[in-house]
């Protein structure tokens, strides 16, 4: 029997601005080419996460769309935490990343509550952080990976003391342009500002997520067959070059 990966995509109608379907296409293709079935379930406002969920995905949205789903997401703290405890992996990008923290405080001091699943909060800053980014991260001990993407955020995300970032910024702004941190990592949950979309040009990160998702039902991440990633490497190299040339500059 094929092992199935159940992927819950939260708010696909509202949070889809930074080519989130690219991330999902990559997860699906890389799972299927290894003989795993990927079951995609869209979860809208007021709908419950599917049981036995292996992977949760949250994308980014424009301010209006984010405001529309924020109250629903804030009320899901227990549901998402329970899924993570039961072994689900998670990827949240941009707006979804911010809203998994405790909240977003805009420049007038008004707070949009978040789910509080990730140990962080975000405050609006002056000027948007826009550009190419490269970071180094250690998803498995001793294995340094480079991840490249594009960031575009007005919020400054501050990790709680002791919280673990996804990686260290090499080029670009990252969470707040100062700490040198990018994203947040909590066990098998990842939040990041990097889009572009994130996964096509960072296939190792896609595979790590698939491995973690499969570990929920298989007990541990299986060995995933190597794929021909020639185009992915090319796209990665070009994006890395861009981050070097023009990342992390206010315009």
């Amino acid at each position: 029997m094929t092992t199935r990966i159940r992927l819950c995509h939260l708010y696909p109608d509202q949070l889809n601005i930074y080519a989130d379907r690219g991330n999902i296409a990559v997860l699906r293709s890389r799972a299927e080419r290894r003989g795993y079935e990927l079951e995609l379930i869209g979860v809208g406002v007021g709908e419950a996460l599917a049981p036995e969920c292996d992977l949760i995905y949250l994308g980014g949205g424009q301010d209006r769309e984010q405001a529309l789903i924020a109250p629903d997401l804030a009320a899901r703290a227990d549901e998402i935490s329970a899924a993570l405890e039961q072994g689900a992996a998670l990827l949240a990008v941009c707006g979804g990343y911010q809203l998994l923290g405790r909240g977003y405080r805009d420049r007038t001091g008004v707070e949009m509550p978040g789910a509080g699943v990730l140990p962080l909060e975000t405050v609006a800053g002056e000027g948007r952080m826009i550009g190419d980014v490269s970071i180094e991260c250690e998803l498995d001990p001793g294995e340094m990976l480079t991840v490249v993407g594009f960031e575009n955020h007005g919020g400054r995300t501050l990790l709680d003391p002791g919280a673990v970032p996804l990686g260290r910024v090499v080029h670009g702004f990252g969470n707040d342009g100062e700490s040198g941190f990018e994203g947040c990592r909590l066990g098998k949950a990842i939040g990041t500002y990097l889009h572009g979309p994130l996964l096509p040009r960072n296939p190792w990160l896609a595979d790590w997520l698939l491995g973690q998702a499969l570990a929920r039902s298989l007990g541990e991440p299986p060995e995933l067959e190597t794929l021909d990633d020639e185009l992915e490497y090319q796209a990665h190299a070009v994006a890395l070059g861009r981050a070097r040339e023009r990342g992390g500059k206010f315009r």
Binding site: D13, N16, I17, Y18, A19, R21, G22, A25, V26, S29, Q62, D63, R64, E65, A67, L68, R128, I130, G131, D132, F150, N152, H195, G196, P197, P200, R201, D228, L231, E232, Q234, A235, V238, A239, R242, R246
Partner: protein
């Protein structure tokens, strides 16, 4: 101390001459930048010299084509000044204002983010807003923000100026509500409508935040909508197109309803999106006094501009350039290509300079999938060629049928090599890739430089040609 207008314009013009002589460019923006720097108020004062005032077109997609159509319609009625080379930022408009001698009406296409500043300087007598799509988020920020700035522009219009809006775009329809002196245009032909596509932008009512009910969508989020929250809905337009027949990659014909009469129009530009461009031009020209005959004649005589469904002959073969720059525009290009019969070979050139958008994630929001049926070879080109190749790979297109050829000139050669003896090669470049290709084509003698063609366009649009110097 303020620099006298005569001095600042003289210096700015001289900069343009030097720029052209040095071969660096066509001098379509630099003189204006110099002018703006020397005297920020110069544009406004130069604009006031135009006896018939100014008309402005802004939109995310189609502004260059709509402006060319409008110019063709108005050519017999006005002596026009404008920016047909597509230099549509404040600097481009200022440059155009340096060359208004002999003109009586200014006709400008204006970048959507530059509109507030330009509208303030020009105080247009007619403002045409064509559409607002999600474009380059890294440059413009979010759509809402842009719509908000446009709201300010509309509020700042003189009470006697005319606002022309695409009623099929709910954001623009909202902007026009409650204002006197509005002309609405739209499409009334349900056969060309469909469900709201993935890349649709304005899904939620800008007044109350509830999701619109879409009866049908024509292009992106342009369509027939109503808000179940506050009751806001599409009104019957004053000027509309119906009985539309799309003729593949060649053109279309439709019935154009003006407030008092109806006429048949045969358009030489393909796709439903060009019907919208024609409607924008017809409505704007109508507001400026054009009659039905002028409108039909102008629309029918308009040829493609600068890579917007432009055909260029290369020996026995033909090149068709279809500019792509954002999800909605690219979706319409895909739809048009498929309607014309998907070619076996396609070149797509993706650059990521500032004018293209440095963030290339938008290609993942384009529905390229309808091309996969007939396409045999994709030549992925431009600075982000590999990224584009990945987009097709993850859409299920076999990697063995993708060639990554980053240099547009080489991609052009490879594409032509794969094109049948008397066939047509379709190339879809982003903006700066299009400029690169235009450069290559000019170098090889297949087409003129874009500013030479702009100068010609300016002459054709009614601005008197400088008297030729008499031979001694």
């Amino acid at each position: 101390m303020r620099v006298p207008l005569v001095i600042s314009t003289l210096v700015a013009r001289a900069v343009g001459i030097v720029s052209r002589l040095s071969g660096k460019g066509g001098g379509t923006t630099l003189p204006g930048r110099v002018l703006n720097a020397l005297d920020p108020g110069a544009s406004a004062r130069l604009a006031r010299r135009l006896k018939q005032g100014s008309a402005v077109i802004s939109a995310t997609n189609g502004k260059t084509t709509s402006a060319a159509m409008t110019a063709a319609i108005l050519a017999s009625r006005f002596r026009l000044a404008g920016n047909p080379a597509g230099a549509n930022l404040s600097s481009g408009v200022a440059t155009a204002l340096l060359h208004t001698r002999g003109a009586d009406l200014g006709l400008f296409e204006v970048d959507e983010a530059a509109l507030p500043r330009v509208a303030e300087a020009l105080q247009p007598r007619a403002l045409c807003l064509g559409n607002l799509f999600r474009d380059q988020l890294d440059r413009y920020g979010e759509l809402e923000l842009l719509a908000e700035r446009w709201r300010g522009v509309v509020a700042g219009l003189a009470p006697d100026s005319t606002l022309i809006v695409n009623e099929d775009d709910p954001q623009l329809a909202q902007l026009a509500r409650g204002r006197e002196g509005v002309i609405r245009f739209g499409i009334e032909d349900a056969r060309h409508g469909g469900p709201l596509p993935h890349a649709a932008d304005a899904r939620y009512c800008s007044a109350c935040g509830v999701a619109y009910d879409y009866e049908l969508a024509y292009v992106g989020h342009l369509g027939v909508y109503s808000c179940p929250g506050c009751g806001f809905s599409r009104s019957k337009p004053h000027i509309w197109a119906e009985a539309i027949t799309i003729d593949g990659l060649t053109g279309s014909d439709f019935r154009l309803h003006l407030p008092d009469e109806t006429l048949s129009v045969k358009l030489g530009l393909p796709g439903l999106y060009n019907v919208y461009n024609a409607l924008a031009a017809a409505a704007l020209s109508f507001a400026l006094g054009a009659n039905a005959e002028e409108i039909a004649g102008g629309l029918e005589s308009t040829e493609a501009v600068f890579g917007r469904s432009e055909r260029i002959e290369i020996g026995e073969k033909n090149l068709l350039l279809l500019l792509i720059k954002n999800p909605t525009g690219a979706n319409e290009v895909v739809r048009t290509i498929v309607a014309g019969g998907t070619p076996k070979t396609l070149v797509i050139a993706l650059n990521d300079r500032i004018a293209d958008g440095q963030d290339v994630s938008w290609i993942w929001d384009v529905d390229f999938e309808p091309l996969l049926g007939g396409l045999e070879r994709l030549i992925a080109s431009g600075g982000r060629a590999a990224e584009l190749a990945l987009r097709f790979k993850y859409a299920g297109f076999p990697e063995s049928q993708i060639e990554v050829v980053p240099a547009p000139a080489e991609a052009l050669d490879r594409g032509l090599e794969l094109t049948d003896a008397i066939g047509e090669l379709v190339i879809c470049p982003t903006y700066t890739a299009m400029l690169e290709l235009q450069g290559v084509l000019a170098e090889r003698g297949h087409a003129d430089r874009y500013w030479q063609r702009a100068a010609r366009a300016r002459e054709e649009s009614g601005l008197p040609r400088k008297p030729a110097r008499k031979p001694k």
